[in-house]
């Protein structure tokens, strides 16, 4: 078989895996949005079968043959696009083949049971119910890391590389050290200064008006409803189910800013998915680069747009039209302040921009101790509480708002949390580059010219797919390697405006 024929076959295999993956995505989307409460037993089996079929394709000897044939042909690899597809499919193939089927099965079963145990423990506020499952999960994650890691690589690094290629604990420690120090300063400054005006955060607005409002914003952002939709689910998410992209959101009567922030966040993810090149659909060049880069897109729209004074200047007339009389007595500026209250809290997903990453750093510490060190499930709660006091300056009243607060570890997601902070850093660095390149981001937001912003992201991030690894993409899009500086400068400017004291 010629190298070109092998390459064509490789892409056909990749596209088939994509069809299975997006079918799984529809099964999962439907489970969160539509599946009746009394159903579900069959859905878990459908998802398990589809995952197995996808895995079989990814580890198949036919794919190994196709890859080997492509890799041995210098002419083929001289083409940058083909080389990138081959490189990324090699990565996916190797990752899949390194894990024995028995471990994959045990992980899947333990994840499913651990999630149930976690939900029961959280609901009862009784950590002991989750403890044996966390111990089992730590043991399995170490086994998984042992299968994946290169000689000399730490276990945690091997897991983190799954989510953000190239991430190392050493690199993050360097990045996080200085970041933590200056975020702590900012937290202090914001606390000592005037407290932001939170009054708009709690106005009561019925769901229909909230929905009209957030849909209008998402439409203005350029989300394509001809190839996408918005539905409701308990936890907002974004998924691609084929050639369409689906966001979900939620509405709380007394928190329209939460609905707006969540929806802009998911729409940021959605614009990335919609901005991929259709011609590359089903191959790595048509997939997103990494979880950190994905998160940069959501956090860019949520924070750099949705929490900016310029955006509120544009958005305020729309809010008044759609939300009605609750807007009386408020102004664009007062709502901008409501959207930017800094207050250390217990729950990461509800955190402000200044304290958010301190939560992530706590998790990073704990994970390394669990995976590379000797922290076990029995000691997790006390260690958690100590780190929260040290990093955020607050006391954790109970495990429900402490170490049981979210589902990640019961799902087997270790090495995942840092992508949230990487997303924040990439977002700020992209915003700064865009600001320079477009001659002022704020003016574009103030005048609602979101298409210019979106096109910049499409050109510099979206359309590349997985052509570049995240570090390289960052360098190409912003002109510099990833740094915490743009993020800190963004926050320092904002805190200076809001808390000039």
């Amino acid at each position: 078989m010629s190298a070109l024929a092998a390459y064509d076959r490789l892409l056909t295999q990749s596209r088939e895996a994509f069809l299975l993956a997006t079918t799984s995505a529809l099964l999962a989307w439907d489970q969160e949005t539509n599946l009746p409460k009394g159903a579900g037993g069959v859905r878990a089996k459908q998802l398990a079968l589809l995952a197995q079929l996808q895995h079989e394709r990814m580890v198949s000897p036919r794919m190994a043959e196709s890859l080997a044939a492509c890799e041995s042909d210098a002419d083929l690899l001289a083409d940058a696009e083909r080389a990138a597809n081959v490189r990324e499919l090699r990565r996916d193939h190797d990752r899949a083949t390194k894990l024995p089927a028995s471990l994959v099965g045990e992980l899947a079963e333990t994840e499913s049971k651990a999630q149930h145990a976690w939900a029961a423990a959280r609901s009862a506020g009784d950590y002991r119910r989750f403890r044996p499952w966390l111990d089992r999960m730590i043991r399995l994650q170490r086994q998984k890391a042992d299968c994946l890691r290169q000689p000399g690589q730490s276990r945690w690094d091997a897991l983190a590389d799954l989510y953000e290629p190239g991430t190392t604990a050493a690199g993050l420690t360097a990045l996080f050290g200085r970041l933590r120090e200056r975020l702590t300063d900012l937290r202090q400054k914001a606390r000592d200064g005037a407290v932001g005006d939170a009054s708009f955060a709690r106005v009561e607005v019925d769901e229909a008006r909230q929905e009209q409002f957030v849909r209008a914003v998402v439409q203005s952002m350029g989300f394509d409803f001809q190839r996408g939709r918005i539905d409701r689910s308990a936890h907002p998410f974004c998924t691609t189910t084929g050639d369409d992209v689906r966001l979900t959101t939620r509405f709380r009567r007394d928190n329209v800013l939460d609905a707006l922030g969540s929806t802009m966040h998911e729409a940021g993810h959605g614009l990335y998915e919609q901005g991929l090149e259709p011609a590359h659909r089903g191959t790595p060049l048509g997939e997103t680069c990494s979880l950190g880069i994905h998160e940069s897109q959501s956090r860019f729209w949520e924070n750099h747009v949705g929490r900016s004074a310029a955006f509120w200047s544009w958005c305020w007339p729309l809010a008044q039209r759609t939300l009605g009389t609750v807007c009386n007595g408020h102004t664009a500026d007062s709502v901008f302040r409501s959207a930017n209250v800094v207050r250390p809290s217990l729950i990461r997903v509800e955190a402000d921009e200044v304290t958010y990453d301190l939560h992530v750093m706590v998790r990073f510490e704990l994970e390394r101790e669990m995976i590379d060190g000797d922290l076990g499930a029995p000691d997790l709660p006390s260690r958690w509480d100590r780190l929260y006091e040290s990093y955020l300056g607050i006391r954790v009243p109970d495990d429900r708002s402490g170490c049981l607060q979210d589902v990640h570890w019961s799902c087997g997601l270790f090495g995942y949390f840092p992508t949230y902070t990487l997303g924040n850093l990439y977002a700020a660095q992209l915003a700064a580059a865009m600001d320079r390149s477009l001659g002022g981001l704020a003016e574009l937001l103030r005048t609602g010219r979101f298409e210019v912003v979106r096109e910049w992201l499409r050109r510099n991030v979206h359309r590349h797919g997985r052509r570049h690894r995240p570090a390289e993409l960052c360098l190409l899009a912003t002109g510099s390697p990833l740094s915490a500086e743009p993020f800190l400068q963004h926050l320092e400017r904002k805190v200076a405006v809001l808390h000039p004291g």
Copy 2:
């Protein structure tokens, strides 16, 4: 391998095919209810891949081995349940293996293109656009029949057997001959008598009220919303996507009786699916018996319940509560009359109970001439129009309301239409048996005791799955072989009440 081990393996293979089939059902359901307009290219590919994976499993040598091992073990086949599962999986396996992959592929592609051509031809009112596709479809259906048919079996019979096992043109001709004669008499009698009161059929009701009304009726029928849902689509349907059952319906502002009839029809299908034994899920014993039996369940609820005076006596207070002031000036009796106007029409799906089957007979004639005779696409419209004049006594003004009226033939559904009439006959025979066995069906409907009706159907029809072939199931459930008498008696009683002239 022991026969029991082979049987277990066979069921595992069957359950895996079920997971793929229900995943396809979700992809198809979503396409009709949720898929954004600009998407769809990937959906067709996902459906094609899932169909191929399901087909591969059904024709696999492993399944052939499992079947052979089971069939050679007399002890295993002495168990009636196991014997039924083996018999039905043999039927599915043989049907799948008889069709060469090349023909399956050509059929799938032609069906897809023919549907587009049909939609374009219908929209333009130009039959010529569809004509070459119909000719191609006839040729492929004949090829398909040649692959499937037993020695001495006609082509049309081989196709009809796919949808209703045991159906033959000879048997239907005997059944239809007398039926046609007496339906023609009834049509005449209804036309000569007083015209039914159609005034309630055209009242204007907003969609929200219509939806509240039909949901309340479906709830009363006992449809389990914990394992099911109702959504909207252009054409109502019912599908099983795992352990849940999904109906769709539609609302027209000026036709609440259409929404009610369509929804009760689909809910009848849904109750059948929900009434299957969960323990047999994924195996033939947990599947529905045939399309004719399936249609008997929908037509029973649509016509024997929803178009009865007893039902309207129960339903009228509910209608008044939910539909509001449009009910003023109407009574349970006048609405019962509105729901039973007999008027020969051009379109099968809008036909009343008396003339509905005359449409089916026209199709039966035409199909036999196309598949077993020499009727080709060029002569179809004139032949169609002549038969409509002869059977229904009406002139067809154009092909759009004539031979282009529905999608079946462009989808490759030949041999399918008679299941609609078989459904009507089974439904009437089941209703008569139920009436005897429960001591009066009308009283149960008048008092809203639908659970008694539903449980009778569950006990006598639903729970058997594919244990019996349709003819045997009919005999077991009603005590008699299928006959047109109960159906004709039902209609004659109704026409006598409505048109006593």
